[in-house]
Symmetry: C2
Subunit: 335 residues, 2 copies
């Protein structure tokens, strides 16, 4: 029986506040280049006061992936918490307008925190440095997980970042249980090397027990297995994980599963803003998996979608990904 | 004595909600292409629900002009009303981050309206169609005008759109009085042909009495003088207005003053989003006037600044306008 959703994502619901900066700004404001740092509300206010004019675009790692999948015509849903405030309204609109189902109850107006936001500082080389005030997204709890929805997911897609939060493990566990009990599969992103470091044991336990797919970049995968050697990390992944997709920046990406390893080159593009590269890689990959394409095609779809999102400001796709797939000879064959 | 501000702008404080659409969307949603329509909150909510994923960028016509001037290093201030909400915070941040003084008191959290927003629908040809929910920006009143600040303005820049509001005429009158009494000059934009139609008599009265400069496009100028003939409208402008700048789209712009008429060609660019073209034209022009350049240079600065803002999404400048002026041979001569 066809399930209602090809992919259901769970993650931090975030609006990105994007500003171009010179690299000096990073050192002056103690922001580490290329990674994601969690900040509290006071720090967010302070950092924002130093930032130049910005623009706001809905973000959130798994939400970006779901937006990408929805733009590809997939049946998708998203679970993540915003508040009943203007940024929350913007986040919900942008996801629903893309075609995803989004029904997580908003935190009420009197909640002490606001909708989460991420200060995305884009360097001249296109690298992004992120400072995230999680706001109410941190308060996603098991009660926000609709088990019936999870049972309707072919793939459950869990954002590693969401390990940063008091009730997140319970929420993830409930989602995984309901999805798996109904025969669904579970994918996990590692999100960020420092996020992996904060939660390595929990990540490993979950991956060994439940993950049918892990999506990571080379730094995250090396951090997970505490090694500086990518080959060693990929060997460990092959031994311990059913399927692992590992991006290697300008060198493309690897997919490791069932004794096979395939590699795809990165799709040529000029990097304007690296934000969302991993999220859209995951979208392309999951699109391939959900439509039962071969490993190399899945991987190439990931690379094409990642190239689209880094060619402009903002982490949601702007071009028609189906057209880009067709241009690369990846269009769905007629049945 | 040098005044504190080269230009002080007064207008509708607005955040733009920008979405690319196909032209069909305009007819299906009863939005007229290329103009600005005022809408109420219910209509804003309804239209937004039909729009695709969007991005938010601070806007507001005079605010865009002031942001452009501030980015050029001019001493600027802005007067316009936002609420103490998230969009208000974003608007204030973006203007201050650009270097403008912005001290208008926020409408309190319990105000019945929110910070104003403009749904900017960008067609494939780059033309923009705007539906504006004025929100609290409509409630700018004479009490928001700081007479001491107005007395410190070399140029007062009044946004025609702000004629749409109960207390606006009183606010404008107070600002003009304080500015003129201290020897400052007054510039007025006509903003939109339908805005001109709604307020023709008031516009004409103010222009005849107080305006040292009128900034308009050809449609607005023709509407002001109720003629279909641009030459006739320019003749009327020459007879009745001290100085008139009139943009003519891809054909560039005219400046008419003191018995002279000069014309500048449009700066070559590809139109991505026409939003803000007139606002940044005004910024370049006022920059030239404030730095006492000749008429043709003032006009060309307007054309270069307009070309920059239509080459990308959003109505605030993204490139360094000073560099663009230098490339066009318009850099300030050393004193």
């Amino acid at each position: 029986m066809t399930k209602a959703f090809q992919v259901v994502g769970v993650g931090n619901a975030i609006v990105d506040v994007i500003s171009r900066i010179e690299d000096d700004f990073l050192s002056e404001n103690k922001v580490e280049k290329g990674i994601m740092q969690l900040i509290d509300r006071d720090r967010a206010v302070e950092l924002y006061s130093h930032m130049g004019p910005s623009r706001e675009v809905s973000g959130g790692s798994a939400a970006n992936t779901i937006a990408g999948l929805a733009s590809l015509g997939e049946r998708t849903a998203y679970v993540g918490k915003v508040k009943d405030d203007q940024l929350g309204e913007i986040f919900a609109h942008d996801l629903r307008a893309q075609g995803a189902v989004y029904e997580t109850p908003f935190a009420p107006k009197d909640h002490a925190h606001e909708t989460g936001r991420c200060m995305v500082l884009v360097s001249p080389d296109g690298e992004r440095s992120m400072s995230t005030y999680l706001g109410v997204s941190e308060f996603l709890s098991a009660s926000d997980i609709d088990e019936a929805q999870m049972a309707q997911a072919e793939w459950l897609f869990l954002e590693g970042y969401r390990f940063d939060g008091p009730d997140s493990h319970a929420a993830f566990a409930r989602a995984i249980r309901a999805c798996k009990a109904a025969g669904g599969k579970v994918a996990v992103t590692l999100s960020d090397p420092f996020c992996v470091e904060r939660h390595r044991d929990a990540f490993l336990a979950m991956i060994r027990t439940d993950a049918d797919l892990v999506v990571a970049n080379e730094h995250e995968l090396k951090s997970l297995f505490e090694t500086d050697d990518l080959t060693h990390a990929m060997d460990r992944a092959e031994a311990e994980i059913a399927m692992t997709a590992c991006t290697v920046g300008a060198k493309g990406a690897h997919l490791i599963a069932g004794g096979s390893r395939v590699h795809a080159a990165a799709t040529a593009t000029s990097v304007v803003d690296a934000t969302g590269a991993g999220d859209l890689f995951a979208a392309g990959l999951l699109h391939g998996l959900a439509t039962r394409r071969d490993m190399l095609t899945c991987l190439r779809m990931g690379c094409v979608a990642a190239a689209e999102v880094i060619s402009h400001i903002g982490a949601r796709p702007e071009q028609d990904l189906r057209e880009l797939f067709a241009q690369e000879g990846l269009a769905q064959k007629a049945a």
